[in-house]
Assembly symmetry: C2
Homo-oligomer: 343 residues x 2
Amino acid sequence: MGEFDLIRHYFAQPATALHNDWAANDPPGQAAPQVVLGIGDDCALLLPTPGMQLAISSDMLVEGRHFFPDVDPATLGHKALAVNLSDLAACGARPMGFTLALALPTLDAAWLRGFSHGLMALAGEFRCPLVGGDTTRGPLNLCITVFGEVPPRQALLRSGARVNDDVYVSGYLGDARLALLARQGQLQWTVPTEVLAQARHRLECPTPRVALGLALRGIATAAADVSDGLAGDLGHLLRASRVGAALDAEAIIKTIASKAYIKSGEAEFDSEEWLALALDGGDDYELVFTAAPAHREAVLAAARHAATPVTRIGQIEPLPGLRVTHSGAPATHWHPRSFDHFA
Amino acid sequence: MGEFDLIRHYFAQPATALHNDWAANDPPGQAAPQVVLGIGDDCALLLPTPGMQLAISSDMLVEGRHFFPDVDPATLGHKALAVNLSDLAACGARPMGFTLALALPTLDAAWLRGFSHGLMALAGEFRCPLVGGDTTRGPLNLCITVFGEVPPRQALLRSGARVNDDVYVSGYLGDARLALLARQGQLQWTVPTEVLAQARHRLECPTPRVALGLALRGIATAAADVSDGLAGDLGHLLRASRVGAALDAEAIIKTIASKAYIKSGEAEFDSEEWLALALDGGDDYELVFTAAPAHREAVLAAARHAATPVTRIGQIEPLPGLRVTHSGAPATHWHPRSFDHFA
């Protein structure tokens, strides 16, 4: 099977069928952006909703850096799109579609079947059709570029945090790091098998917080997704907003869902170990965001609407940098160990 | 220098400055699409012109397959964007911006300086700003996704060719293949050094035919860009349009600009060799397109307007397939040897 047959066989999908499905099921005013022309021409053609802004994000995943060579191709397909949808979520943008460029060392039908299955299942779930792309032979590499829509001036940017805003994080932190440590044989603690399996699922199949991002339009002042670790990604947000933050250690540790199931021998974890799990772990794909204290009820309503838990973990301050306050103890400065591909 | 400094240092550009420049210099009604937010947030934000369709194309370039390991990084930067702009040209779309995802084995400042210089020079020439992307460590891999705008129903598709339409190709064919053969030590013929240098320049620094694509809106019935060889790419167009074509060998050979300077010993080339150069060579990045005979004057006017030569090379026929007619001789069926990355 050649390149062109490959594309057709594993990745072609009826964009118009998807569109008709949207049109039939979406509530009024929620019609999905129209895919005019999908895979197979020099360009894909989309019809953006007039007046809406176009949000774009692109992520490249490389074997050995972003995933293990033996990863299940279906979970890889899921994750490749999920990390891009997470960027749209952080912007409060509604997914429109994506392109996939794929370098493969060989044509492995079983691998492609699994990969496209995982990819297309998530694309269907988020109504974000594959509209085009490229395939070539080469060391395994996946590049997805995703497009979304957001009304003017409603995009959630990193630069909007204001002094006294609350700082929130969605969902649960640390699972991906836990799974990674286990995989690398560096897990010092006793973690039940089923908790590790759940953590591994969270590492390999993250859930992009698109619904929460949409619900936070007009409520959050700033947002970023947590891909390189909460401390690092919040750090980007703080620098973009020219502010700092004080976080509450107990609140952060509460976001570690696995905490109740982890035992470190006889003694309780040191709180610094818990904090490192939550603050320095990458691959969480949660949202970190800020909102004015007057909007606390609105934030909780948005979280309920999106069926996504959120935890208030701190407050924006004028002094740049990130400080973590332990109950009663003076603030300590947290130096993020954010992931840098070239460090 | 870390990942984030790297992006800022080599690839950040003042999108708003670019936009102001557009606004100041463009003729009325030609205002460039607005970049609301460029590099540095979770997503880039563009503001499409209301009612326009969004054209999207993505290409991945891999070392050893699309370029030689010792390629000048500036020409590589040029080519990586040029091949994407060529897809927009084939659609008749006006460039809006692009994302770049880059896997690099090491952080080589000289390489990055050259690459970004070549990339940004072409981006400036076509007013197509870099709006976002990703960098990671890995085997050298470049993935560019480009966005353009085209009015509804004016995009040039592969599927619009009609029986009796003329077939045209822009510019010059075969130079890239000539340079590739020379590089691979497979050149059987005597080619002057300066002609080879020019051919190599065409291979490494192709000129995307964006102006011609724009000028052909409403005139051409179908178009594709010639990236994998004229026969192969025209073949895609014919299949998409469910038609065939008869091409004139003499007209095709006329498109080989280097022809006058190539000597094959004592004897003249066999015309099959010339045809192979024009029909099977990849990397030409010309446009192949069709138009009704009634529009011959309009096609020539568009070519003059775009300052791009075009050659009429044949005619669309109902019978599927591609036939090449030698003057007087019966038609022969041409079997394209189009490039397939997995063949």
